[in-house]
Amino acid sequence: MTSGLNVLKTIKLYMNGEFVRGESGKYSTMKYYNSDKHYAHITLGSRKDFRGAVESSHAAQPGWSGKTAYNRGQILYRMAEMMEGKRAEIISVLKDTNGLSEKEANAEVDGAIDSFVYYAGFSDKYTSLVDNINPINGPFHNFTSSEAMGVTVLVCEKKLNLGRFAAQMSAIICGGNSCIALLSENYWSVVASLGEVFATSDLPKGTINILATTNNELLEWFAGHMEVKAVSFQDQDEAAIYKVKEWGIDNMKRIILPRKDALCLEMISDYLEFKTSWHPIGF
């Protein structure tokens, strides 16, 4: 018989398919909405954690983009299924810590599911729309084919919007990239649930890593890391964006800025490289 005392929650980093404490020991205390009551401790990612996340995502990326598009689509669809299974849990968490109403919280979950399903359905189609055979003036078969960029860092918006977050995440991995998501305060409450969705969706470990951060603390590290090929900066912080653009020049990072419409083809092609190949035609 339980004593009536609940087991308190611990929210850890989601790294390489596991939930880990983080090597710096840094944490923040989350409170219930508009209250001083302790909700949970959340591990914050340090620069060493970020470095580890990059190693993990870098190792995972070739295998992830090597899967067939159909496979990736199936996994994205499974994320929607897992998310649906966690609806009640996420709603309760959003009400408790973000102060959302039942209706608003439901809309957040719906938004995320819509995004996963949308991109699940695009994964095996977008190449039909963005790749090409080019009509060369000579006897050559010439085709432009899209590929992933590599390890992508996703800095989330300040305001909670699970639909847009899921859309950005899905568009990034849809094209075969691996992703490190840096989630700020308003998203901390769902870090655990999101990690669990990714962990139970047959996603190869390292394809997505989640770090909770605060105040752009890791800005310098991800903007400068040479193995990070792209940064999706969704936060509307002009000063921060300028810094990222400047520090990213060393390895010519691709910096992707927010789009108004989160469910569209262009979201996917934002994270693609295009390779054009030539091959002679003749006996």
């Binding site: 359905g121 095996d124 006996f283």
Partner: protein
């Protein structure tokens, strides 16, 4: 007119057989006895009698008539199917129109997609059940229905579900809308997969459907009706009516059908085209083929042999795009023929439910008789005949795979579609000659090229009059890959972006 099954004809004596001469070897090992490894059938419940699926419910046919459906592996009856007459067809079309004007027509693409995703998932969950039923009903090996038909069908629904809310990408700056009520008639060689190929794109584009499966293989389509109900499709979106030629004709000629899609023989396809020529109905056709498989001397020969085997013996050769004509570069023909003969002897013909069976039953007695007739004709016309020594089961409709080498373009078997495990082999000297011979056909469905030289492959692929070209592989299908033929192999494509256009109006 439903034909009664008749007794099997006695096989005609072989006219000329050339067997490969094996070197004298002392046999020091033993041959494995592949005792039958039968897939259990208890997962499937076959109703003794099946009704029509109209307006979301199973209803008795107005004709009050039923006909038998048989398991070709045994020749025994396994169920009864309803015979839909003109009035039944009318009810089905009305139900489809009602659904189109109602709930379905108003549904968003996103929601249509959700329903189709559900169908894909349910198919994956009930995969074994569908695979076993497909084998029982049609005679194809369980290995194929389990590993090819059912997964591809599930993929087809999954793929098209994703298009439902993205159709605007197909025609930027234009208005895209469905065509309306679609009448779809499918063949008996891939019953479930053909149903998926027809239903998925039509529904993704917002149409409603009346589907007529082949009269010898309707059971998996009827089981699909179950899945559509389980997934929550509004009544009347999908209607399934069973019957034979007359039922199909009634559907084709019904005035309130906006589009007809047909997969089957070229002869019937032409009849259909004729009967609706004076109407505004849209028509897509996927017809017969006599596809060439071309092996060059610089091919990966052993893999080419496998590809040829897969090309003509997969699904007992009941494949519209089967590589039924082998064209071999003359310098390597002896070796290729020898390897093929050796390979033929290792093909296991047997009970389709046996996991070790490679080649199952011929789909019907009618088809078996047709194959026998044509092979007899082939033997009369000459050429070197070789047939697999695989023993055949005593009951049921079976045919051992065979080949005719040293034939030419003039031989009948080289020109007409046999739709059975019969391969013809001729030679060529140069790539130009290969192309000419490959294109020498009224059909234009598929072709195969075997060579390790990339530039040659690309050039030949460009020159072949075929809607599908397989290079260094054969009989590969994917929901994202448009499939269809040139010339008398049909109109339109199925699968991929191109496959959607025949189910849309774009203004």
């Amino acid at each position: 007119m439903i034909k009664k099954t008749s007794k099997t004809k006695k096989p005609v004596k072989a006219v000329k057989t050339v067997k490969v001469v094996k070197a004298e070897k002392k046999s020091k090992g033993f041959k494995i006895d592949y005792s039958p490894s039968l897939e259990g059938t208890s997962i499937v419940t076959i109703k003794p009698r099946n009704e029509l699926f109209i307006g979301g419910k199973f209803v008795a046919p107005k004709s009050n008539k039923y006909f038998d459906t048989v398991n070709p592996a045994t020749g025994e009856k396994i169920s009864e199917l309803a015979l839909a007459n003109k009035d039944d067809v009318d009810s089905a079309v009305k139900a489809a129109r009602h659904a189109y004007n109602g709930e379905w027509g108003k549904m968003s693409g996103k929601d249509r997609g959700r329903l189709l995703f559900r169908v894909a998932r349910i198919l994956q969950e009930r995969a074994r059940e569908f695979a076993v039923l497909e084998t029982l009903d049609g005679g194809k090996p369980i290995k194929e229905s389990r590993d090819v038909d059912v997964p591809l069908a599930a993929q087809h629904f999954f793929y098209h579900a994703g298009w439902a809310d993205k159709l605007d990408y197909l025609a930027p700056n234009k208005k895209v809308s469905p065509v309306g009520v679609c009448g779809q008639i499918i063949p008996w060689n891939f019953p479930l997969l053909m149903a998926a190929w027809k239903l998925a794109p039509a529904l993704a584009c917002g149409n409603t459907v009346v589907l007529k499966p082949a009269e010898t293989t309707s059971l998996t389509a009827l089981l699909l009706a179950d899945v559509f109900n389980e997934a929550g499709f509004p009544a009347g979106v999908v209607n399934i009516i069973t019957g034979a030629g007359e039922t199909g004709a009634a559907l084709v000629n019904h005035p309130d059908v906006n589009k007809i899609a047909f997969t089957g023989s070229t002869d019937v396809g032409k009849l259909i085209a004729k009967s609706i020529a004076h109407s505004n109905k849209k028509l897509s056709l996927e017809l017969g083929g006599k596809s060439a498989n071309i092996i060059f001397a610089d091919a990966a020969i052993d893999q080419a042999i496998e590809g040829v085997v897969n090309g003509i013996y997969f699904n007992q050769g009941h494949v519209c795009c089967a590589g039924s004509r082998l064209l071999v570069e003359e310098s390597i023909v002896d070796e290729v023929v020898k390897k093929l003969q050796r390979r033929l002897d290792m093909i296991r013909v047997g009970n389709p439910l046996d996991k070790n069976t490679d080649l199952g039953a011929i789909n019907s007695l009618e088809q078996l008789n047709k194959i026998n007739e044509l092979v007899d004709l082939g033997k009369k016309e000459g050429g070197d005949f070789y047939q697999s020594s695989s023993p055949l089961p005593k009951k049921g409709y079976y045919f051992a795979p065979c080949m005719f080498s040293n034939v030419t373009s003039a031989h009948t078997l080289n020109r007409i579609e046999i739709f059975g495990p019969v391969l013809t082999i001729q030679t060529f000297r140069t790539p130009d000659e290969a192309i000419t011979k490959a294109n020498d056909s009224r059909y234009g469905l598929a072709a195969g090229i075997w060579s390790e030289k990339g530039s040659k492959n690309l050039k030949i692929a460009g020159a072949l009059k075929a809607g599908v070209v397989w290079v260094n592989t054969y009989n590969k299908f994917d929901a994202a890959s448009p499939f269809g033929g040139f010339a008398e192999s049909g109109w339109g494509r199925e699968g991929g972006r191109h496959g959607l256009f025949s189910y849309l109006k774009i203004d």
